[in-house]
């Protein structure tokens, strides 16, 4: 068989005999993109259920309640009339936060005594807790400034001067790269890439294990030629799948893409090479496709969690950092998000180099193993197929 015949044979196996492989390569990343694109479609957490126990029931306390009602971050689900009732709502998780305005709230404020407002936030879900504390602080700061200005005006300070005396420093925040703090932009592309990796693993694993089961078909051909011709279609299709996923993320979910095509190309190609090499090597060590699939699924969760994509590398302990450096996804996902959202990744050259070296080493090892084992290994029933 010449090169073209080998490639044609692999394409026949992929598209005609075992279409699963094409499904894995294109389907996995697109399925995850759509599932999580829809899941994080709201981008940020809004309408956190809140109860407000306004013990004071004055104009001032009601204006504070109104501030919470006006915020899209909160949804006031009830206004309890006792401490017990307020705690009941929290206990039953009807509300995730409670604000208690004490009975002498307005009188303390007008008599120049500071008045405490209590916020009780559920710490069960930190994404919600963070939203509650951040936006309550913001609402209270604005309210404080307003009240303080009024108090100074009452003390005879002119209006313009009063506002600057009560809050001499105003605070502005500029959020770079993801200005709306969107969870969709933050999360989804990394999850799609985790599935993309999984898709490559399952497709390439199926292909390699097929050769071990049908050893006679290519027995006379040089193993380097076999491996190269086999992996080439996967390399091309996986690259295509990467850009299709990227295009879908931009078109369907408005994820920005500020990076250059060249940067994205080099990063994705080196990653695809590494993923193919890695899966070929692991598949060569497995005795059946079921075992390979189990290993692959087990690997996928730590590979994503430890890739530094969510929990930053700097906050990991030395043990976790060491493991993170081993996973190929570590070199793809964070840099890819930087490229998409910021247009630039400081670690791009390092990551591409590491992925290239890793990819070449793993592919060579997989080829070497195939050379050694293709005449000796017996694989068990590959699919668990039953006749009925």
């Amino acid at each position: 068989m010449n090169w073209w015949q080998l490639v044609k044979r692999e394409l026949y196996l992929m598209f005609r005999k075992d279409f699963r492989r094409v499904n894995f390569i294109f389907g996995a990343s697109l399925a995850y993109l759509i599932i999580f694109g829809l899941l994080y479609g709201t981008h940020v957490i809004t309408n956190v259920p809140l109860v407000i126990y306004d013990e004071d029931q004055t104009q001032l306390s009601r204006s504070l309640v109104q501030c919470f009602a006006d915020s899209e971050r909160f949804e006031i689900v009830a206004q309890p009339s006792s401490q017990e009732e307020m705690e009941y709502y929290l206990h039953e998780q009807t509300a995730y936060a409670a604000v208690h305005i004490p009975h002498d709230f307005a009188s303390h404020v007008t008599s120049d005594k500071s008045s405490p407002v209590l916020l009780i936030a559920s710490g069960i879900n930190l994404a919600v807790t963070n939203t509650i504390t951040t936006y309550t602080q913001e609402i209270l700061a604005a309210f404080n400034q307003h009240v303080s200005t009024k108090l100074l005006e009452a003390a005879g300070v002119p209006e313009t001067l009063a506002s600057h005396k009560s809050a001499p420093i105003t605070f502005a925040i500029r959020v770079l790269n993801n200005p709306t703090l969107s969870y969709l932009n933050f999360f989804v592309i990394g999850l799609a890439m985790a599935a993309f990796q999984q898709g490559i693993f399952l497709a390439v694993g199926a292909s390699i294990l097929y050769e071990y089961r049908n050893r006679d078909e290519l027995a006379a051909i040089h193993p380097v030629k076999v491996m190269t011709a086999k992996m080439l279609p996967y390399f091309i299709l996986a690259s295509l799948s990467f850009f299709v996923t990227l295009y879908a993320s931009i078109r369907l979910f408005d994820i920005p893409c500020k990076g250059t095509l060249l940067d994205l190309f080099f990063l994705s190609e080196t990653f695809v090479l590494t993923a193919i090499g890695f899966s070929s090597l692991v598949a060569s060590l497995c005795h059946s496709e079921i075992t390979f699939t189990k290993l692959s699924l087990t690997y996928s969760i730590p590979a994503f969690t430890l890739s530094g994509y969510i929990w930053p590398l700097a906050s990991m302990d030395a043990f976790s950092q060491t493991i993170a450096y081993i996973f190929p996804l570590f070199y793809l996902s964070d840099a890819l998000r930087d490229l998409l959202l910021g247009g630039y990744s400081p670690e791009l050259t390092r990551n591409i180099t590491v992925l290239l070296v890793l990819g070449l080493v793993l592919t060579c090892l997989a080829t070497w193993l195939y050379t050694k084992r293709r005449h000796t290994v017996n694989t068990s029933d590959p699919t668990g197929t039953v006749t009925a």
């Binding site: 399925a31 999580f36 829809l38 994080y40 479609g41 957490i45 309408n47 929290l90 404020v109 120049d112 008045s115 405490p116 407002v117 009780i120 936030a121 710490g123 069960i124 930190l126 994404a127 504390t133 951040t134 602080q137 209270l140 700061a141 009240v147 303080s148 108090l151 100074l152 005396k165 009560s166 809050a167 001499p168 420093i169 105003t170 605070f171 502005a172 925040i173 500029r174 770079l176 790269n177 993801n178 703090l181 969870y183 933050f186 079921i290 699939t293 189990k294 699924l297 087990t298 969690t305 430890l306 930053p312 976790s320 998000r337 930087d338 910021g342 400081p346 699919t383 668990g384 197929t385």
Partner: protein
């Protein structure tokens, strides 16, 4: 039935204990691995670059407030906007504090002055922290300076403070007061490990059974399936309890609730997943394909079940998907039991999980019986 059970219990130990290794190994490895990963508990020492264009004692007070916070680590004080941009671009810093020229003078003259905080929001773990903590720090400093300014109006210090900050906010965070990430995420990841392990084992439980039909032709389908299910279920519940023990003893995740409630909900959940796997094993003509195709459902469950992204924040599609995930009814109640000692709707969630489990188990029996009947005698003998 007892003989069958004993046979199936021994089967868990077959193949060098492969099933046992999966059922205990995956959840325990996940718990330990992720326990170490999140051992810092909160994101601290966010690299901060300071561009202080004022260089006065007032501006240094603000810089010092950031330096004193354990959330930030000042990595550089730059003198030009270009240097600041470079620090941010190269991710040497994830946040930048910009204090304008004449900051101190403008405060004294009661002119408006604005402090700018920049943050790189590609990773929201940093950005969310920066948005909440920097606001808090600046407000505290602003209130202190405001107090001094009001004192300048011939008001006594105590009264000046109350005028500058008339409403005090006290924050009480319940259940997880230190906002520990381990407490938040570790129980769910352990349960997710258990789910994956059960799925991988139960999906192949009937593969050998179909090839050995002649052996148990006279035994009812329900008995065979029950004997298959029980060892897997018992081992998985034990495995989960070991994980919870490890997360408490090694990583300090509290266990404030009742063990009975924990066993109840995790038992119901494990039954649901084992039955789902058993159904796939009974129905799929090709176990491998079935396992690979249903993997999307299993692997996406953790993020879609409302554990990290709350259900109330999801759109309709997300909510609809979360409803059909067994993990939705177990993960949050388990975290509630551990952290808050109480979970609302425990009975309802347990019943839903039992109903899911019973439905899949019933379907598995029906499909297994049907396929067994249809299997021709010669195939049966040949396979046997």
């Amino acid at each position: 039935m007892l003989t069958l059970l004993a046979q199936e219990a021994r089967a868990v130990l077959r193949n060098k204990g492969a099933a046992l290794l999966i059922l205990f190994g995956i959840p325990i490895v996940y718990t330990v691995l992720f326990g170490f990963l999140y051992s810092a508990n909160v994101v601290k020492n966010i690299p901060l670059v300071v561009f202080d264009q004022d260089q006065t004692s007032t501006s240094r007070t603000l810089v010092q407030a950031f330096a004193d916070s354990e959330r930030y680590s000042i990595i550089a004080q730059v003198t030009t906007q270009y240097d600041l941009d470079e620090c941010m671009k190269n991710k040497n810093a994830m946040a930048a504090l910009v204090i304008p020229e004449n900051f101190s003078r403008d405060i004294k003259l009661s002119h408006a002055t604005t402090v700018l905080m920049e943050t790189n929001a590609t990773n929201l773990m940093f950005a969310n922290n920066v948005v909440s903590t920097s606001q808090e720090i600046v407000q505290t400093v602003s209130a202190a300076i405001g107090q001094r300014l009001v004192e300048g109006l011939n008001l006594p210090p105590a009264q000046a403070l109350k005028i500058a900050a008339p409403v005090r906010l006290s924050v009480r965070v319940t259940s997880n007061p230190t906002a520990s990430y381990s407490n938040f995420v570790l129980p769910g990841l352990a349960l997710n490990g258990v789910q994956l392990a059960i799925f991988l084992v139960s999906c192949t439980l009937l593969t050998s059974e179909y090839s050995l039909l002649a052996r148990r032709r006279d035994v009812s389908a329900a008995s065979i399936l029950l004997a298959k299910l029980i060892p897997c279920w018992i081992v998985s519940v034990l495995s989960f309890l070991v994980c919870i023990g490890l997360s408490g003893s090694l990583f300090g995740v509290p266990f404030r609730g009742s063990l009975v409630q924990l066993v109840l909900i995790s038992g119901a959940f494990n039954f649901a997943i084992a039955s789902l796997g058993l159904f796939i094993s009974a129905a799929a003509p090709n176990v491998l394909s079935a396992m690979q195709n249903t993997a999307i459902y299993i692997m996406s469950a953790f993020l879609c079940c409302g554990y990290s992204w709350p259900i109330f924040a999801m759109n309709t599609a997300g909510k609809a998907y979360s409803v059909i995930l067994p993990l939705t009814y177990a993960a949050i109640p388990i975290r509630d039991i551990l952290l808050a000692a109480y979970t609302p709707e425990l009975a309802k969630n347990t019943l839903i999980l039992l109903a899911i489990g019973a439905s899949f188990f019933g379907l598995a029996i029906a499909v297994f019986s049907l396929r067994r009947k249809k299997m021709p005698a010669e195939v049966e003998e040949g396979l046997a």
